[in-house]
């Protein structure tokens, strides 16, 4: 069972792409989503993201992600609905009104965030974290210390999530009911558990730093990496697609 942001082995096209190409594509894809407010274009981006997830068999992971992003984007959308009096008035408010434009802005925000998030998260599911860090060191010349810090952060997310799950299970066994009383009660019960999680996280991080150091972390150079990450034709096509999408988004924004 793979956890949050943990690599899922596979042999799809996305799995085989160069890690740097995947990362750059995901970043440019996300930027593209923020370069246009065209809902139709954003829906197409969203559909493309879903298609990418389906092509590598990551629909389950992406659906989980979409749910989490939806909750966050819904909060923003509600704020927009009440604070963006645009278009034809639908409901009058003491400080303005809710209009068709408000709803459009809210829908655009939700679709934009969902679309932008999918390729970014997908990158982690289809790329080994060590390949991601090693390739950015080799290809983009990012200092290894930064790449390792980033990789370790991602690596430890599921570890800490498991720790939190363990702590919650231990508390449940002692009679704490996390499922009763809704989200507010759950958060109220979880806050005190953050202390043992923090203590355990600090200890684990310290142990990890020591373990890395006794395995020659300080000797690492750009040339140390055993694997090579050459770009193939498919990588260039993917990067060209990303640039094309960005150009299209900018054109739509300028022209419409």
């Amino acid at each position: 069972m793979n956890g949050f942001l943990e690599y899922v082995p596979g042999d799809s096209l996305l799995h085989r792409l160069n890690p740097v190409a995947k990362l750059l594509f995901a970043i440019v894809f996300a930027i593209t989503c923020f370069c246009t407010g065209n809902l139709v274009f954003l829906c197409c981006m969203f559909a493309l993201g879903i298609a990418m997830a389906a092509s590598c068999g990551m629909m389950k992971q992406v659906l989980g992600l979409m749910k989490a992003v939806f909750v966050f984007s819904l909060i923003l959308a509600i704020l927009l609905v009440f604070t963006t009096p645009q278009g034809e008035m639908l409901v009058e408010l003491p400080w303005g009104y809710i209009g068709t434009g408000s709803l459009l802005a809210a829908a655009t925000t939700i679709v934009r965030l969902e679309a932008a998030a999918i390729p970014l998260f997908l990158t982690f599911y289809v790329t080994k974290i060590s390949d991601l860090s090693n390739s950015v060191v080799k290809v983009l010349h990012v200092p290894y210390k930064y790449a390792f810090t980033f990789a370790s952060t991602v690596h430890f997310i599921p570890v800490f999530m498991n720790d939190m799950k363990g702590i919650m299970e231990a508390q449940t066994a002692r009679g704490i009911e996390f499922d009763v009383g809704g989200i507010v009660n759950k958060v109220r019960l979880m806050v005190p558990l953050c202390v043992p999680l923090l203590v355990s996280s600090v200890r684990k991080t310290n142990s990890a730093a020591i373990a890395a150091e006794v395995r020659g972390f300080n000797l690492r150079t750009r040339e140390s990496g055993y694997k090579q990450y050459p770009f193939s034709g498919a990588d260039f096509v993917v990067l060209a697609l990303a640039v094309g999408l960005l150009a299209a988004a900018i054109c739509l924004t300028v022209l419409l």
């Binding site: 793979n2 142990s207 150091e213 006794v214 395995r215 020659g216 140390s224 990496g225």
Partner: protein
């Protein structure tokens, strides 16, 4: 050779020394087991051998610890790591990648081994630990025992002169623990590697170790061949080290004059000794 002279260490946040007046000489190629009750200072003793003390955990360090001629206080942790391979107690913290093969590569890449050597080293280390079939597996999908073997194999790939392991079978069942100790003992024999293992399972240590070190209250109480140490099963019990029952039984028989043979380390030896006495 590992040479510890008058070693005393107090962690910065502690009020009293964790280990005090330690003197120990471990010859090259020896398989040494260190045991003792919780908080007795056995882990700190190994930290002194692999340089984690004082380089990562600062404090008051007295005496000297030399490993392969390197003074662990003077040499950098990186230089010590070229000689000493360490397997930590918390395996999840030691593992830094998501795939077994990448975990094997991590140390080899860092230490800058020639690329044409890397494949052979990975293959040998995985085979030595009996996990060649796990090479492409996602580490998160492995059991605790398999992770432990991966962590050990990733250090074996570096082919260090000294191997220091802190409770390497903590998450293993008895059969797997026996297997790991067997693999470590065979590896040490074949490569001439010095192995220092901190372990609670004294029965396992006595079966495989050349020397058993018992630590109590930060001091070495016993450091001798396993049979010679196990002869003091009553004293060991007093300091929280529980000898195998077969050993305790035979020692009591010896104390009452019913048995005069050598110390029995396990049930098989006790059975043989008893059958000789009875028949």
């Amino acid at each position: 050779m590992i040479e510890i002279k008058d070693f005393t260490f107090r962690y910065r946040e502690s009020s009293s020394p964790v280990v005090e007046g330690i003197n120990l000489v471990i010859p090259d190629g020896a398989f040494v087991g260190i045991t003792g009750s919780a908080g007795s200072g056995k882990s700190t003793l190994t930290y002194a051998m692999n340089g984690i003390v004082p380089h990562c955990y600062p404090g008051d360090f007295f005496g000297s610890v030399t490993v392969g001629g390197l003074d662990t206080c003077e040499a950098s942790l990186t230089d010590i790591s070229r000689i000493v391979g360490s397997v930590c107690q918390d395996i999840d913290s030691q593992i830094v990648t998501s795939i077994v093969e990448d975990e094997m590569l991590y140390g080899l890449e860092n230490f800058g081994f020639a690329h044409d050597q890397i494949e052979g080293r990975i293959g040998r280390a995985l085979a030595d630990m009996g996990i060649a079939d796990l090479r492409s597996r996602v580490i998160a999908s492995l059991s605790g025992g398999q992770k432990q073997k991966v962590a050990i194999a990733s250090i074996l790939a570096l082919e260090p002169k000294v191997l220091v392991l802190d409770e390497p079978t903590a998450e293993l069942d008895p059969a797997s623990s026996l297997q790991v100790f067997g693999l470590l003992a065979r590896y040490a024999r074949e490569h001439g590697t010095t192995v220092v293992v901190v372990e609670q399972k004294i029965a396992l240590l006595s079966q495989f170790a050349d020397m058993l070190v018992i630590v109590d209250g930060g001091k070495i109480r016993f450091a001798d061949a396993p049979a010679d140490v196990l002869a003091y099963s009553e004293e060991l019990l007093e300091i929280g080290v529980n000898c195998p029952r077969a050993t305790t039984l035979m020692n009591r028989l010896a104390a009452t004059g019913l048995y005069a043979g050598p110390v029995c380390r396990d049930v098989e030896e006790a059975c043989r000794a008893l059958s000789e006495v009875i028949l």
